[in-house]
Symmetry: C2
Subunit: 344 residues, 2 copies
């Protein structure tokens, strides 16, 4: 982790950006107008609306008991991981081979909704598996449609100021239900994201697209946790065993194939996996309380952790609007990445 | 002018941008709302409003006779050049020294307004000096204040949709009065620019900020045209002579000093002064007719020429709004420049 050379365009980019922009998030106390929102989109700059969704029926009434009564034993897709690391860079350590970093996808498993709630709120030992309902495939309008369509919930089909400003409907509305043990690793999305905290707290660490060279993007082979089927770990034949990481394309892997670019730097462990530029990053941190809304601009890196009391769950809903690929932001972000990678 | 290497980030940037964006300007037929305008600002993308200012008293009534009657012999500052090349890269060719490119500033000279009009509309030989009223210092609210403040003209103090969207007043409102012989060389400004054509036509050639490597920016010494005072060119002592280019800091120069970065590529002469990237540029061309409005986004390169009948003048008014230096566009544009210059 040497210091970057002087007159290094990448270091200048990050420091110029830091000088012109705050690393503290802008806080609003009422929802913006469409025009005010569009100014943030134009600046590709996040904001939080404190209490912006405080009047939503969901933030006022949803709880473990409410949801259990409402959804009952309906099956839902649950991401299961050994340590809350769904879609995270993870050390793959096969016998008699050197360990390698892979992008570990979760074991996806259908569970009755009540079983998910029971698992999330049980006093699990810290080495037990972690469950997270986090299918990011418009699940609120599909898997959880009863929550979305029931008149009593009045869940908006779009965020009005975002719909007016962006002149489009959301591409996906996602529901997230988990507990304090799940973390989403630093990554970015090609979406304008409006994030609504319903229950519990979410802790975001944000980095702008100009910080590409800080996050140490690497090509990571894909892998997925699969359930061991028989007694290799001492379980009886036929009984289910623990989770095992399997490379894509190998037996049990889902064969989606190929390595994918992914950041391996973690702003919470800034000395590990750092690049010569990581120390220049000024991560923006924001905690969402129930009823808060976050605008997370497209292409921003974000790491998300959450906390709630042991007997409750963390619930959030986010609205993804396709980003605008016209204009300079997308090609310039790609350019930053190309120049950064070329210098490696 | 070699072809750029493959996997060249700069070439990829320009071609990515070209693939995602049209090189034809978007044409509106009524003025945008503030929100619609803000979408263009967010995309850093120009548009023209055909006839957007057709109802302005200025576009309906201003003519040579009208202005002569209105302003009379009021003195105005006129930019005088040998060939219509105010603020243009120009070959400086002193005796017994190698010629060098300099940024030639015009001779600035006060003239009665009627004398300016007479010069602009006289059948001048093609080798005679060129006059242009083009002081870009908020001249409409100062030098030409009688035109701006007189109730009959109803000139807006701001463009309503720009004022609402950008939440600021214009930093400058500039009046331009010239004829077909003046050209403004390719350059860029740190302003959001709304340009209103009043009389005659303006011909714009536009390039987005990602095209920095196409325009062949060089550090040009500053120079200014000065009037020879005595008979070195055959004029009698005391009589005024022709224009002579004098380097800043030398005798007669204005001592503003230092070289400035300036593009030397001319999209109208694409083979001259080209870089290895110039051929990748897809210049956007638009002609403004009287009553048309152009949104020229900040940091876009623009070359402007004009045409009008010999007995008329070209008149335009532009509103400059300070650009927003927060967000990624400014630091990323600087980054493109740093990477491009580093590769030279």
């Amino acid at each position: 982790m040497d210091a970057p050379p002087t007159h290094d365009p990448i270091a200048e980019l990050i420091t110029n950006y830091n000088e012109l922009n705050s690393s503290f998030i802008e806080e609003l106390h009422e929802e913006p107008s469409a025009l005010e929102f569009m100014r943030f989109v134009a600046r590709n700059t996040p904001f939080v609306v404190r209490g912006g969704a405080a009047n939503w029926q969901a933030t006022r009434e949803w709880s473990v008991d409410y949801l259990r009564n409402f959804l009952g034993d309906q099956p839902v897709n649950v991401a299961v991981t050994p340590a809350g690391n769904a879609d995270a860079p993870t050390l793959y350590n096969p016998p008699s081979q050197p360990p390698t970093l892979v992008l570990a996808k979760p074991h996806e498993h259908p569970l009755p909704f009540t079983a998910l709630l029971t698992h999330l709120t049980s006093p699990n030992p810290s080495n037990s598996e972690v469950h997270y309902a986090q299918t990011q495939n418009d699940n609120l309008r599909h898997e959880y449609a009863p929550l979305f369509t029931h008149h009593s919930h009045n869940l908006p089909t779009s965020i009005p100021w975002a719909r007016l400003a962006l002149a489009r409907d959301p591409d996906a509305i996602n529901l997230w239900i988990g507990n304090s043990r799940s973390t989403t690793a630093l990554h970015k999305d090609g979406y304008e994201n409006v994030y609504v905290q319903v229950a519990g707290r979410k802790h975001f660490i944000l980095l702008p697209p100009v910080c590409h060279a800080c996050v140490n993007e690497r090509m990571l082979p894909g892998a997925r946790y699969v359930r061991r089927k028989r007694g290799g770990d001492g379980t009886a034949e036929g009984e289910e065993g623990g989770l095992e990481l399997v490379l894509d394309g190998e037996g049990g892997g889902d064969g989606e194939g190929g390595a994918v670019p992914f950041p391996i730097w973690d702003p919470d462990k800034p000395e590990e996996n750092a690049t010569e530029y990581s120390a220049l990053a000024r991560p923006m941190r924001v905690t969402l309380e129930p009823g808060d809304m976050l605008y997370l601009p497209c292409l921003w890196y974000h790491k998300v952790s959450q906390s709630c009391s042991p007997e409750e769950v963390c619930i959030a809903i986010n609205y993804w609007y396709d980003m605008d690929y016209t204009g300079p932001l997308y090609p310039l972000s790609t350019f930053v990445r190309s120049v950064s990678n070329k210098n490696k």
